[in-house]
Structures are given as structure tokens and as C-alpha cells.
Symmetry: C2
């Protein structure tokens, strides 16, 4: 089982082609739904009294929500706008609502998962959740503004993790290295044996022990909304590791491919629209396609 | 046999770690030396009377130079400076020397090659060379400032090519598309059945017929000088195609891997330092390593 501590949010998202108001979002929602295709996934989070019942039911179909507090107040809200080529996002508004004052209390039966994914982007929340738990493996991720503002805290936190997933900008800031191979290795040296540097449309780099494995993204012609792609990558990645119930070079490399596939579904539709109607056979089909176009014998 | 029309130059290159003055450079030099490891390669170019004899001998060891004019005047000269992370290059000086007034006359026995690579970055020169020849396949490439300044001319030129190799910025400008999959397909629609969009440290995308094949770069920790990497990619890419003497999906995909390997050697040393001492066994060793780290069964 995977437990993910992160945000469940209401997102208002603007792209050059479409805007949508107060749709289901948040790092834990994207992660948990992606992960649920591979393994049992429980979320630790909080929502407010304004959280729509149909969103709750949609999440509940995929994830164990016993660790999600329903508090008086407002749900975490995020409004953002993408530029014309969907490369850069500008934050237009953020209301943390019940998020900072939530209890972050983990039900006892969820305290011993195989994998704990700390995805809240709040070091204090991550620490509070971690303290209650005895997971076999701890994975973390971060977000750009934290790598800028709280670098020493994050470097300290890295020591407590077995694996860390972050994007190329975050890796460069956190390590102080421009070269991504050096950056990944420097982050490993702080603690986690496993590091994945995500590069969006360019795929990513998996660091495991002393090795570096590059993998490409799926070449996609129609990208609709990049929101949540990194969380869906993490969902496929950790979901596969948990399903295999072991960590090895082969499992980790396969996990990167499943992460890539889950992220590709995510960005091809607005919000969680694709993920919520996805079927297992779609995942296998796309994984086979990825394998066919990305691997060729010499 | 491959014939490549391009520049043979004297380069003064500054990186944050090292500067070197008037070293052997130019698109045809990098391409030809890389390609020579796979197949017979002839250059069509021009140098001035200041071109050092030991550079000539170094080139001659790898390439047929019967099509290189030795004219009165100065050799093409290019001075540039890389920024601290080697991502951006600033041109500090450029003297075309004998280049624009050269004859670009192709000896008769070089007029029927399997592959002609037009790599001069001067549409008029490319046209002059092409007119003299009856190659089986024509490949072209370009350079960023041309895609900005001479877009209509380049789009017209594309019709005459079977394949086109360009970097992601050039692809975006030439196609007017931000999405690279759309960009590559739009360039194919102008003429070439084969398009490779090079993405530097992120690998590239091969377009062939209606298919798109992504490939990662080798993860390199020590990049010394990116000069010529794209030309070395093209050298490995076209060299392999010519050695196999056929165009197929498999050959093209393998060609991308050989191109990737040749580019990786190039950037790990200053100028042509690595390429000039490279041995065939080094190429096979790195190709095997690339295969090991980039391809994993699921």
C-alpha cells in the first residue's frame, strides 16, 4: 500500500484554449488516482466544507480517504494561467483554506505502508505526517518556490528519504549544479539512493546507486493542460514499485516508463478528465506503444 | 560515399574553463571526421592560404579533400564565447574569408554519391553544389539565424531534400509551431520524409513517414565544449545510413543512436580533440553502454 500526504484542491485553470473553474485538483488527487491503477493508495489530506460531494465520490472510487479530514472552512484553492505554448504557468491566486490548520492525523491502520509519499510541499506538514508513521520506504518531492526559499530545510529533509522525485529546475536550484547529471548525484549524496529528475516533454533521468538511466517522454502532439503531470508521473512510478513489491534497477526503470505513460494521459485532457475515465487496458496499450517507439535494437 | 558541402574554419572558442585560438573547426570538419568512422566521406569546401598544413593533414587522414579549394585569402574564422553553463553561445567575431567567393566546384568522381549533405548554412552555396550533382539522397541542415532571416527560401529548399536535420529552436521557428511533434510533421510536409529534431542534452525526435521516435542523449557529467555536437550527430547519423546502404525504420533509428554517440564524444573535449584520436572500438563500447542504460524491457 502507498500512503500519500498532499493537497486536495479546487483548481481554476486557464489555458489559451479553455478555462475551467474550481475543478478537482491538488497533488494528492493527481498522484492517488494515477497510483490507484497499480496498487492500493490512501491519501492523507484535508478538504473544507465547500468541497463538492461528487469530487469526494470520484476520489473515493480510486483511493482510501480515511486519512482525509473534512474540516470547517474552505478547501485549498489555486488559480493559474498557462502561457500560449503551455510551458510557463503564472499563479493568479492561492487560498490555503483549511490546509495549514488541518490535523494531519493518520489512522492507525495506515501507519505502516510499504511506501509513504510526502507530496504536501510543506516541510512542516511532511514532518508531522512522517512522525506518525513507520513506512518501509519514504519518497518525497518538492516544488520550485520551496527549493528557492527553504533550501537548507529541504536538504536536511532529504536525509530522511529513500527516494526523491523533482523537476529539472528544482534539481538545479537544490543542488547548485547546472549539469543535471551532477545535480542528481549531488542530491543522492544528501540521502536518497533513488532520484528521478523529471524534464517534462524531454522525459527524465533516473539515478539509482551509481548509475544514471535516461528515458524519453512520449511524443505528444496535443497537450491540453500540463497540470498534475509530475504527480501522475510519481503515481505511475511509485504505483509500479509498490505493485512489484521490490526495488531493483529493472523495477525502477520500468517504473519510470509507467510514470511517463500516466503523465502522458494526464496532459492530453483538462484537469483529471482523462485519468478519471482511464482503464487498465489503455495503460498497457500505451506502454506497449512507448516501448515500440522508444526502444530499438542495434 | 557521402559528400558534405560545408565550412572548414578556424575557431577561437572561449568557455568558462578554457579558451583556444584558431583551432580546426567548421561544420564540414566536424561532420566529415565523425562520418569517416562509418563510410567514405568527401568534403566540398574552401580554405585560405593561412590554413595550417597540420590541420589539412588531420582532415586528410579522415576525408577526401579533392573538393576543397585552396584559395588566396583567409580561411573562414569564427570567434565565440559560451556562458557559464555552456547553454548559450555569443558570437564575438566572424570573417567569411574565401568562403563566399569560392568556386564550390565538385570534382566529377564525387558527383554521384549515395548521400549529399548540404551543411554550408548558405542557401546559395547549397544550391550551387546541388546543381552539379546527382546524389541518391539529399540531406540538409540549417542554423538558427537563417531560420529567422530566410525562412521562405529554406521552406522552398526543403522540397529538394529527402532528409533534414535541425535543432529544436530552428524547428520551432521554421514551422511556426511550439509543439515539437507538430513542428517536425510540418517540416516533413514541406518535402523531406526524414526529419531529425535535435534537442542537445535531451536527445531528439526522429520523424519517418507518419511515425515519431524519441531517443535520449547520453547523460554526461563533464561537458567541455558543445561546438560541433550537431555536426557530429549528423556525421554518425548519415555515416551509419550510408554504411548500411539503405533507408528503413530500423536503420534510421540505429543511425540516431550512432549520431548520439558521436555527439557525446565531441562535447567531452575541446574542439575536435576527442574525435581526432577516437578509435572504432570506443564507438562500439559507448553504443553498447547507451543501449544498456537507455533500453530496458518491461
Amino acid at each position: 500500500m502507498i500512503v500519500c500526504a498532499g493537497s486536495i484542491a479546487l483548481d481554476t485553470t486557464h489555458t489559451p484554449f479553455k478555462s475551467a473553474k474550481r475543478i478537482l485538483g491538488g497533488s494528492a488527487s493527481y498522484f492517488g488516482i494515477a497510483s490507484s491503477f497499480f496498487t492500493k493508495t490512501a491519501l492523507v489530506s484535508a478538504v473544507g466544507s465547500d468541497f463538492p460531494e461528487d469530487y469526494w465520490r470520484a476520489l473515493e472510487k480510486h483511493c482510501d480517504l480515511a486519512g482525509v479530514e473534512r474540516a470547517e472552512g474552505k478547501t485549498f484553492f489555486f488559480e493559474s494561467k498557462f502561457d500560449f505554448d503551455l510551458h510557463n504557468r503564472t499563479a493568479l491566486g492561492l487560498e490555503e483554506g483549511v490546509f495549514p490548520s488541518a490535523k494531519w492525523s493518520v489512522p492507525e491502520y495506515l501507519q505502516n505502508p510499504e511506501i509513504l509519499f510526502l507530496n504536501s510541499h510543506h516541510p512542516a506538514v511532511d514532518a508531522k505526517v512522517l512522525k506518525q508513521m513507520r513506512p518501509r520506504l519514504v519518497f518525497g518531492d518538492t516544488i520550485e518556490y520551496l527549493t528557492r526559499q527553504q533550501k537548507p530545510l529541504l536538504l536536511e529533509f532529504l536525509k530522511k528519504t529513500d527516494g526523491y522525485v523533482l523537476n529539472e529546475t528544482e534539481a538545479r536550484i537544490l543542488s547548485g549544479e547546472s549539469n543535471l547529471v551532477k545535480a542528481g548525484k549531488k542530491i543522492q549524496a544528501q540521502g536518497p539512493e533513488i532520484v528521478v529528475v523529471k524534464k517534462g516533454e524531454h522525459g527524465g533521468l533516473l539515478f539509482y546507486g551509481s548509475e544514471v538511466f535516461p528515458f524519453p517522454a512520449l511524443p505528444l502532439e496535443n497537450i491540453v493542460d500540463p497540470t498534475g503531470a509530475g504527480d501522475c508521473f510519481a503515481g505511475g512510478f511509485l504505483g509500479w514499485i509498490d505493485e512489484q513489491n521490490k526495488v531493483s534497477e529493472t523495477v525502477l526503470r520500468q517504473a519510470c516508463y509507467y510514470g511517463t505513460v500516466m503523465a502522458s494521459f494526464c496532459v492530453e485532457a483538462f484537469g483529471l478528465n482523462n485519468l478519471l475515465v482511464l482503464e487498465e487496458k489503455d495503460i498497457h496499450k500505451r506502454l506497449n506503444e512507448y516501448h515500440r517507439i522508444a526502444f530499438c535494437e542495434v
